[in-house]
């Protein structure tokens, strides 16, 4: 099945992006396709290349980028939400792209399921 994911909260502060990541990985392991992850609201903060979590902690941004690269997931960051919060090409992590809200609606139309993670 083709599954799309919406993430509404940033890294570390809320469990949302962790739950979404573990869900996405499990979906792929079960043979499903995760077509797109859309980052909205504070979720855009998952895409900054500048995070440096403690060494004994997970690296939320990098593991999304790695999962996306390995399994061809389109990681889309909402441009309007990103501008408000200070995410731009200059601090965007590799593997993410900035685009419009239309990409969320499109993901909903094209995927078989859309699952939301937030606060």
């Amino acid at each position: 099945m083709k599954i799309a994911i919406l993430i509404n909260e940033g890294p570390y502060t809320h469990e949302a992006t962790d739950s979404a990541y573990l869900f996405a990985r499990a979906a792929i392991e079960k043979g499903h396709q995760v077509s797109r992850v859309f980052f909205y609201h504070d979720g855009v903060n998952n895409s900054t290349r500048l995070t440096e979590p403690p060494q004994d902690d997970r690296h939320v941004v990098n593991r999304w980028a790695k999962l996306a690269q390995d399994h061809n997931i389109d990681l889309v960051v909402c441009v309007a939400a990103a501008l408000r919060r200070g995410i731009k090409d200059e601090n965007l992590a590799p593997g993410f792209r900035i685009s419009g809200l239309g990409q969320l609606i499109e993901a909903g139309i094209q995927a078989d399921r859309l699952v939301t993670f937030g606060d």
């Binding site: 909205y40 609606i105 499109e106 939301t116």
Partner: protein, 123 residues
Amino acid sequence: MSEGQVKKFMYVNRKAPHGTIYALESLEVVLIAAAFDQDVSLAFMDDGVYQLKKGFNTKGIEVKNFQPTYRALDDYDINKLYVEQEALEARGLTQEDMCVPVEVLTRAEIGKLMETQDIVLSF
């Protein structure tokens, strides 16, 4: 882009305005959604009904008043706005307090509508 498909999208709003940005950013999604010729409906539940309370005056908190945007929804052919009856009652509000025309439904009725959707988005 939409491949000619029409899906039923329901946007569920349960959060008060201003305290958080969800109401405003949810509205931004809905406006974009209108361009995709999908079947769009909005449900306002719990504190979400406060989003439609007439008479926002945001000068004192120095933020933009986004309430006029709700009145623009009809221009985008978005006119299925459902408001939870129990939520209104618990907050001393009535249909007349809403800034746009809405249909008042019980929670159970909203639940039944939800079952008929292809996509439910919650903010």
